[in-house]
């Protein structure tokens, strides 16, 4: 039997004003795959992830998530997005931010369960501090915990390694591997080619809004100037 398709994009176009951010992007991702999306700054990675997460609409084309049209059928609860913005409430504590998500989704919002989640991202000792006292890296960890709190089947992570320290890099690696074991379909947008190659089985390369490569990460072309020398990939 053919593997189920978790994410299907067909002819996606999206523009911002006069500029096209996505041009005719089509691909399919089988369920359970771990896929990296790469490309230079402004090549459309963030736009692609936001379109897939239904945060923004495509101007043309069709997104299918787990066989459903997310604009019409209830499939949003199975998608989680880690975006450039953290989706956190600054004046609230780490624990309260997670509790809000848990309550909206009808999940266990007791302190013990939420603390476990914070433990996972190494923030248990700051559980009762407001987010506005957090550093950028700590916010990223909390945003990651917020995404994990959704327990989604399709997880879209936009630069999950952003702002993180070397232990944070390892944390993201662990999270990705765990998501894969649980059978989630994961798409990460990242500039860390070596790391992405090691972790992911498939890769997508965007160039000025167009998909220039889709296939196994081992066959992925080196983008010009990205020979690894300029990329500090941490621990």
């Amino acid at each position: 039997m053919r593997a189920m398709i978790a994410i299907a994009a067909a002819g996606l176009y999206r523009r911002y004003g006069r500029r096209w951010a996505l041009v005719d992007v089509s691909f399919e991702v089988p369920a359970g795959a771990l896929v990296m999306v790469t490309g230079r700054n402004g090549s459309g990675k963030t736009t692609l992830l936001r379109v897939l997460a239904t945060a923004i609409r495509a101007d043309r084309g069709m997104v299918t998530i787990l066989g459903k049209d997310p604009q019409r059928e209830p499939v949003r609860e199975k998608i989680a997005l880690l975006g450039h913005r953290t989706y956190l409430y600054e004046p609230l504590t780490a624990l309260e931010n997670l509790a809000i998500v848990a309550r909206f989704l009808g999940r266990d919002s007791r302190r013990k369960a939420l603390l476990e989640r914070l433990e996972e991202v190494g923030l248990a000792d700051r559980a009762d501090d407001p987010v506005q006292t957090f550093s950028a890296g700590m916010r990223q960890r909390l945003a990651l915990a917020r995404v994990l709190q959704q327990e989604a089947e399709v997880v879209l992570l936009d630069e999950p390694y952003g702002h993180l320290d070397p232990p944070g890099f390892l944390l993201v690696d662990r999270v990705l591997q765990r998501l894969r074991r649980q059978g989630a379909t994961v798409l990460i947008a990242t500039h860390l080619l070596r790391r992405g190659r090691a972790l992911c089985d498939r890769g997508l390369v965007l160039e000025a809004g167009r998909l220039s490569f889709a296939g196994a990460t081992s066959e992925m072309p080196e983008p010009p100037g990205a020979d690894g020398a300029g990329f500090a990939e941490g621990a």
């Binding site: 004003g17 006069r18 096209w20 041009v23 005719d24 084309g61 069709m62």
Partner: protein, 239 residues
């Protein structure tokens, strides 16, 4: 790419409107007899009342456009909404000015908090505020949806504003209304009413074209290499 129609109907409407207005004003100013109680000042009514009808009509059309936009998401309704709202604000502003000019010789003050006139003034600010909102939102989709919503909410507010001002100012003397004038006074009123109607429909049609052209330059750059764009996809633009 949607082409903006180049037909001349709006120009013809504007020309017809101007001609009717000239004829109606000639009749109203020079041929119609003096009114018994109001004297010559009554002649302001031949232009004031038609303006009032048409201001309300233009804002009602804006409301219809807003509802149509929210149901269809078609850009033409957004273009028409922008045009009709602007026209409605201009006509309402004109109405307030005429009302002030009418109030001075009649009641001795420029502004007397008459419910109809006060409601019109509130509408100028309400719909003028929405036009300001449009100017400050760069994303065309958000601009269209928000102004349609704001237009519906403001329109729903009109009767409440009217009744609240009416009760608030209930000691005010009864207003003379055009229904009380004799048949001889009807013709200039009607001719001017149709004159303004033709004028504003023509102007709104033209203004909607302006909006369509601006929208096209804003959000409709040519699709790079239109090789596999699916057919039937929504294309913005159009008057």
């Amino acid at each position: 790419m949607a082409r903006v129609a180049h037909n001349r109907t709006p120009h013809a409407l504007v020309a017809a409107g101007v001609a009717l207005l000239l004829a109606g004003s000639y009749w109203g100013l020079l041929k119609a007899p003096r009114e018994i109680f109001m004297g010559d000042v009554q002649r302001i009514m031949y232009v004031h009342v038609p303006t009032a009808w048409n201001a309300m009509l233009a804002l009602s059309f804006a409301f219809v456009c807003a509802v149509c936009f929210l149901f269809t998401n078609a850009w033409k309704w957004d273009n028409r909404l922008e045009a009709a709202m602007e026209m409605g604000v201009v006509l309402s502003l004109l109405l307030c000015t005429q009302g002030a000019i009418w109030a001075k010789p009649t009641w001795g003050v420029w502004w007397d908090w008459d419910p109809r006139l006060t409601t019109t003034a509130v509408m100028v600010f309400a719909f003028g505020g929405i036009l300001a909102l449009r100017a400050f939102v760069d994303d065309p989709v958000k601009r269209a949806v928000w102004s349609a919503v704001a237009c519906i909410v403001a329109f729903a507010d009109v009767p409440i504003v009217y009744f609240s001002v009416k009760w608030w100012n209930s000691l005010h003397q009864a207003q003379s209304s055009p229904q009380t004038v004799s048949r001889a006074f009807h013709w200039p009123l009607r001719i001017n009413a149709f004159g303004i109607l033709f004028l504003w429909t023509g102007l709104v049609a033209l203004r909607a074209r302006v909006a369509a052209l601006r929208l096209q330059s804003e959000i409709h750059p040519p699709v790079p290499e239109q090789k596999s764009a699916p057919a039937g996809a929504p294309v913005p633009g159009g008057a």
